[in-house]
Structures are given as structure tokens and as C-alpha cells.
């Protein structure tokens, strides 16, 4: 029971409390480059999810065999192997999406989020906890990609997952699906998360002082 609780806690940590994008601000390259529509964000999120999960499992299984001095290189080679698998699978199964994401699938290797999880978590914890952590972080990244993609697609084209949302009178904000839109949307989302954090801190402080008075 206690173990279940711990694993669940790791999962929620990745998904919300320590969300890799909104709280830790990691993995920005793939995040901004592919999120001009929600479906591309979803595909990229699933691909990164798979790579993160696969390499977490391998790294945590082999952690006692990997020499400390060359661990980073070993992690990168493991990650690169999984990315190659994803790249070739997508090219065979979903050629349209593969073409849309283009060179950004191979670039998952350079995502600092994945290497960061290997170094900070999977190489130090049991298989079970590493899987929970990978699920949480992967889901958090997926959540960020899809929400950013959805906002940009709704404002930039007036559609969500390719379904038109507004009437013919809607004037699309083309800038939102172009590069500047990505920077600005993510900036505004980070502002919102900062605001939430500050509000939470204020409430915590207030509760603490009230406790002191009582």
C-alpha cells in the first residue's frame, strides 16, 4: 500500500507539481518547434514519452554495470537507440506525421529533460520508481505539448485537432502558428504558473501565521 502511494506520488510530481516544462523549464526546443497544432504536439509528446520510458527502464536496470566516469555517454547512447527506433517506426507507420515533425524527431536525443531524468532519477532508483517517474515526467511533457499546441492552433487557425471551432467570420491570428507565437504563448503560460505559485505561497504563509496565532 505504502509502495503504491509512493509511486503515485512520483507520477503526480512529474505531471503537475514539478512539471518539466511549466515549472522546471526544460526541453524547450522540441516543445516550441512542433506545437503549431495540437496533433503535432500529441505525436511529439508520445514519441518523447516512449523514449523516456524505454531509456528509464534500461538505465535503472543496468545502473550497477555502468561505470560512473562514462555514465553520461552511456545514457546518451541508450537514448539515441530508442530515438532511432521511434524515428523508423513513425516513418513506417505514420509517414504524414513523420514528415510534419521532420528533423525534430531525431532531435529528441538532445532534449535535456530526458538526459536530466536519467542522471537525476533513473540511475539512482529502483526500476519501479523509475517507471513511475518516467510516466509522470512523460505525461507532464505530453500535457505541456498538447496544451501549447491547442492554444496556438485555436488562435492561429481557429481549429482544434483539425475541427473548425468558429464561424466563417473568424479572423485567424496567423502569428500564433509562426515562431513568435510559440515564444509568446509559452511566456504567457509561464507567467500564469508563476502567478499560481505565488498565490499558493501566500496562502501557505497566511495559514502558517494563523496557526501561530491560535
Amino acid at each position: 500500500m505504502a509502495k503504491e502511494q509512493l509511486a503515485y506520488d512520483e507520477f503526480m510530481k512529474g505531471l503537475w507539481r514539478e512539471n518539466p516544462v511549466f515549472v522546471q523549464v526544460l526541453g524547450l526546443c522540441p516543445l516550441l518547434a512542433v506545437t503549431n497544432s495540437a496533433i503535432n504536439g500529441l505525436a511529439m509528446g508520445l514519441a518523447s514519452f516512449f523514449v523516456l520510458l524505454g531509456s528509464s527502464i534500461l538505465v535503472s536496470l543496468f545502473k550497477s554495470y555502468i561505470p560512473k566516469q562514462v555514465r553520461i555517454s552511456c545514457f546518451i547512447i541508450i537514448i539515441a537507440t530508442f530515438v532511432t527506433v521511434v524515428d523508423y517506426t513513425l516513418a513506417a507507420a505514420l509517414p504524414v506525421i513523420h514528415k510534419e515533425l521532420g528533423a525534430f524527431i531525431p532531435l529528441i536525443v538532445a532534449n535535456c529533460l530526458i538526459l536530466g531524468r536519467m542522471e537525476a532519477f533513473a540511475s539512482r532508483n529502483t526500476l519501479r520508481m523509475s517507471v513511475a517517474d518516467a510516466f509522470g515526467m512523460g505525461a507532464g511533457f505530453l500535457f505541456a505539448l498538447v496544451s501549447l499546441g491547442a492554444v496556438r492552433e485555436i488562435l492561429g487557425v481557429g481549429e482544434l485537432f483539425g475541427i473548425a471551432l468558429f464561424g466563417a467570420n473568424f479572423e485567424p491570428w496567423v502569428i500564433m502558428i509562426l515562431p513568435p507565437g510559440g515564444f509568446i504563448t509559452l511566456g504567457v503560460m509561464l507567467l500564469y504558473f508563476n502567478w499560481l505559485e505565488e498565490k499558493k505561497n501566500k496562502i501557505d504563509k497566511q495559514l502558517a501565521t494563523e496557526d501561530g496565532v491560535n
Binding site: C29, T84, Y88, A103, L107, G182, F183, G187, V188, L191
Partner: protein, 193 residues
């Protein structure tokens, strides 16, 4: 203008690696708080990019035609080790140059801009000279973007009236958005000719 010149201008301004492809955002947002430091980081990036283009061309021509599925792994391993070797060589031969660029070299090796350069150059089927010019343009484009960004950030730091909430990453992203919008203007540079 010849093909090479066109490749150079296009990667330098129109398809700027940072502002149009979002490559190398980590150093762009992380190290751009001082003008001088970011200029040196830019120079180191140009250097590593040119080395990368050479490595990628060599691997593509002589090794990877036999085993294309090893492309990603071999790019990473070869680029990282060549940069490490050069770093050692510089340390031995020219301490002054090492002090200027050295600390950045290992940092940028696994940067997505470096790997992205190798992959883009391969996808576009560039030869040796085209690849080198492409790398030079991309590196100088990165330097231009990070130096402009550092300049703007230094000015913004002086504004005291800005609320604490907006300082930091969120604001830097919004400045980058505006910078990226300005660079979009270059897209019309060659359309008439």
C-alpha cells in the same frame, strides 16, 4: 548572388536557428544575461558548428552509406569526441584562446543546435563547401541572436518598475518572441529578385 552566398544569408537571417527553428534555446535563454559572455559563447558555437559540419560530411560520405540507421548515434559520439580532442589541443597550444572559449566547448557539444545542424545539413544533401557555409551562417546567426538578446536583457534589468512576478524566464520568452517577429521581416529579403 551565388548558391553559397544565398545559403549563408538565408541561415544567418531568414531561417535563423534560434528565432525560427528554436534550436539552442537552452544557452540562448540561460547564458544571455551578460553581453561579453554571450559573445564568447557565440564564437565557441561558430567554431563547434564548423567542426560538426566537417564531421557530418565525413561520416555521411564514407561511413553511413553502409549503415544509415547508425546515423544518430554516430553523429553524437563522433562530434562529442572530436570537440573534446580539439579542446585538449587548444588547452595545450594556446592557453589564451582556451580561456576565452574553453569552458563553453563541452557545454555546447550536446546542444540541440549542433545536432540539428548535422541533421539539417544531411537532410538537405549539402556537400562539403555548402555544409561549411551553412554551419558558418548558422553559427553567426546564433551569435547575432544571443548578443541582441543579451543587450536587450541588460537594458531591461535597469527598469525598476517591473513587477517581480514577470521577471525571469517568462519575460525572456516574450522578448524572444518580439525579436523573432522582427527577424520575420527578413523573409521578404529575396522574394523580388
Amino acid at each position: 548572388m551565388g548558391d553559397l552566398g544565398w545559403i549563408f544569408i538565408s541561415t544567418l537571417l531568414i531561417n535563423n536557428f534560434v528565432l525560427a527553428y528554436f534550436l539552442g534555446l537552452c544557452p540562448f535563454l540561460g547564458v544571455s544575461n551578460k553581453l561579453e559572455v554571450s559573445f564568447r559563447l557565440g564564437l565557441a558555437t561558430i567554431f563547434v558548428m564548423v567542426v560538426t559540419a566537417l564531421c557530418a560530411w565525413f561520416l555521411n560520405t564514407y561511413v553511413l552509406i553502409h549503415a544509415p540507421y547508425l546515423r544518430l548515434i554516430s553523429f553524437i559520439v563522433v562530434i562529442a569526441s572530436v570537440v573534446q580532442l580539439i579542446e585538449m589541443a587548444i588547452k595545450k597550444t594556446s592557453p589564451a584562446l582556451f580561456r576565452a572559449l574553453g569552458i563553453f566547448l563541452p557545454l555546447i557539444t550536446t546542444n540541440c543546435a549542433i545536432l540539428g545542424l548535422a541533421i539539417f545539413a544531411t537532410n538537405k544533401g549539402y556537400g562539403l563547401w555548402e555544409g561549411l557555409v551553412y554551419a558558418l551562417g548558422a553559427g553567426m546567426g546564433f551569435t547575432l541572436a544571443i548578443v541582441l538578446m543579451a543587450g536587450m536583457r541588460q537594458e531591461v534589468e535597469k527598469v525598476n518598475a517591473m513587477p517581480k512576478l514577470i521577471r525571469g524566464f517568462a519575460f525572456n520568452l516574450i522578448i524572444s518572441g518580439i525579436l523573432s517577429m522582427a527577424f520575420m521581416g527578413f523573409a521578404g529579403l529575396f522574394s523580388s529578385s
